[in-house]
């Protein structure tokens, strides 16, 4: 059974179309990264998956209809949006008490174990903690929930590099175990390129690219063409070309690696470069604003 299965998922706010027929399938045990320009529909898609908004089309999450069966779904799903959502008045001990009191799959000892390593005091209020500490607190709460699906919406927004790295390290080492599924959106795509198993680009309410990272590496390649070989490289039909330090960098979809490597240095493109190539310059133009 797929963890998430969407067909023709659509959501409009008045005349604004936020999701315009999204088809998406996420298998169990995958880590899917969703990239998209601001207002592309990422948050709307996550809100639909989490049963936070009604939608048109077909959507099953863990075999449930997220809107109609939200109360059941939330026992098996954990989610975390950017760090600003933990109530500022709450004490760390109260957060532990509350989640322990309402969540049947919360392991309090585990959460306290994670907190042990951070030096966050039980009596502290959220407003007294730094952004990085709030993120660690939230992550400790979320990781102690034995959820089958974890949804992260810009979880590291506003955190410095060290905290971001620590965040994903903890997620991978202490949480992910191949039976869980993780869906994450972020703008810091390069940092999680190695973490992901799958990738989807969303633009103007549509999925414009969906592939596994194995496919990604087999399919896309980038060549920094030698000065004399640029024309030959262009003849092979690159999907995108850009200039860097006076050299042309051409991006190919499904090109023959041996053929291309004769023209210059070949490598797998970064997600950000591919994103620019696929989503292109029209990205973020308002056909459908977010929310």
């Amino acid at each position: 059974m797929a963890c998430i299965e969407a067909r023709g998922l659509r959501k409009a706010y008045g005349a604004t179309v936020a999701l315009d027929g999204v088809d998406l399938r996420v298998g169990e045990g995958r880590i899917l990264g969703i990239m998209g320009p601001n207002g592309a529909g990422k948050t709307t898609a996550l809100n639909a998956i989490l049963g936070l908004i009604p939608f048109e089309g077909e959507l099953r999450v863990l075999g449930l209809d997220p809107w109609a069966e939200r109360d059941r779904l939330m026992q098996e799903v954990a989610f975390m949006s950017d760090v600003a959502v933990l109530p500022r008045w709450m004490r760390v001990s109260q957060a532990l008490d509350y989640v322990d009191g309402v969540h049947p799959r919360f392991d309090r000892a585990k959460a306290e174990g994670f907190l042990e390593r951070t030096g966050i005091g039980r009596a502290s209020r959220v407003r007294e903690l730094s952004k990085g500490m709030v993120a660690q607190l939230h992550l400790a709460l979320v990781m102690a929930i034995d959820a089958r699906l974890l949804v992260l919406d810009e979880p590291t927004l506003g955190l410095d590099l060290l905290y971001r790295k620590r965040f994903y390290d903890a997620l991978l080492n202490d949480y992910f175990d191949r039976s869980r599924t993780i869906v994450v959106t972020t703008h810091q795509v390069e940092e999680i390129q190695d973490v992901l198993t799958d990738l989807a680009f969303i633009d103007r309410g549509r999925i414009v690219l969906e592939c596994s990272m194995d496919e990604y590496e087999a399919r896309w390649l980038e060549v920094m063409a030698r000065p004399g070989a640029v024309e030959a490289a262009r003849a092979l039909g690159p999907v995108h070309e850009r200039q860097s330090l006076g050299r042309s960098i051409l991006l190919f979809d499904g090109a023959d690696r041996r053929e291309v490597s004769a023209l210059g240095e070949v490598r797998t493109p970064g997600i950000a470069d591919l994103f620019v190539a696929v989503v292109g310059d029209g990205a973020g133009q308002p056909r459908g604003a977010a929310r």
Partner: protein, 311 residues
């Protein structure tokens, strides 16, 4: 599948426990949702307690600085039997008014606050239904505040009585006579009954304010009060009547007339000789229409919380 013993070289045998089927631990979403409200809104218990402490201190200071006022204030005048309890009962009226205001203020921000600070995204990430959340919020003015008020009143009355017992013997008056006059042991159940009646009577007001706080993006208080005020002014200007004003007054204080029979010598409510009339209170159509409205408002507030996109 039986647990397989795993033996690693150089290590003792380790029993790998079978993956336990995620046993559904018993949870109490409603209870913890109420706890959450009390953590966040400490005014709910601090306001009644602060007023009670203030009253006790004010009376003590007054008695200490102006001892000549003491007999009159404590009402132990043999010429006016029954007046001793007027002070105690007056405090009950004041504390109930404070409880109502506290509850109304709480409700006006109860559903707007979590949206404004975006913590709704945290609350909604947990398996607590919108109905449980809104019900917990409604329970604060309907259950928690009356209980806190009653406790504060009993404590205040006891403090006041102890104060009197310290002063009265010096003036040659009997503490036992004061105790006999106060009827505290029947006043307290009467106050419990009054608090329950008022909570039920005010339920539609609290529920309406909850609904408005869930609906209005900001300034819920204005959205709740201005239309009523405007309609009242309009009625006065166009028809020169005050039906709406009378209606609002009835919604605020009508419960007393319904829950207690009138008593001729009563100047302060809850006089010991005032008969309780729970039967006729429960037979008042206004009460049941109000409760039906309250249920409808709470359901609408829950629906609004569910349908509105968070953040």
């Amino acid at each position: 599948m039986s647990p397989a013993p795993v033996v690693l070289p150089g290590e003792p045998a380790v029993e790998v426990p079978e993956a336990a089927p995620a046993a559904a631990r018993a949870t109490r979403p409603l209870y913890w949702s109420v706890r959450r409200e009390l953590w966040e809104n400490r005014s709910v218990h601090l306001a009644p307690l602060a007023v009670a402490v203030f009253l006790a201190v004010a009376l003590a200071v007054h008695g200490a600085t102006m001892p000549s006022h003491l007999p009159g204030m404590l009402g132990t005048d043999p010429a006016q039997p029954g007046s001793a309890s007027a002070l105690y009962r007056g405090m009950a009226v004041l504390m109930m008014a404070i409880a109502f205001v506290t509850g109304a203020v709480y409700c006006m921000d109860a559903l707007g606050g979590e949206r404004r600070d975006r913590s709704i995204l945290f609350w909604k990430s947990l398996p607590v239904s919108d109905h449980a959340t809104v019900l917990a919020k409604a329970a604060v003015p309907l259950v928690v505040l009356p209980l806190v008020t009653l406790a504060a009143l009993v404590a205040l009355h006891l403090v006041l009585f102890l104060l009197s017992s310290a002063v009265l013997p010096a003036q040659g008056r009997s503490v036992a006579a004061l105790w006999g006059e106060l009827h505290l042991l029947s006043l307290w159940p009467t106050l419990a009954y009054a608090l329950a009646a008022a909570a039920l009577w005010h339920a539609p007001i609290y529920a309406f304010l909850l609904l408005v706080s869930g609906w209005a993006r900001r300034t819920a208080a204005l959205w709740a009060l201005l239309p009523v005020l405007a309609l009242g002014v309009l009625e006065k200007l166009t028809m020169d009547t005050l039906h709406l004003a009378a209606w609002v007054t009835h919604a605020l204080i009508g419960w007393y007339g319904a829950a207690f029979a009138p008593y001729a010598r009563e100047r302060t409510p809850f006089h010991p000789l005032t008969p309780l009339t729970p039967g006729s209170f429960l037979a008042t159509p206004w009460l049941w229409i109000g409760l039906a409205l309250a249920v409808a408002f709470v359901l609408m507030a829950a629906r609004l919380r569910r349908y509105r996109a968070p953040g």
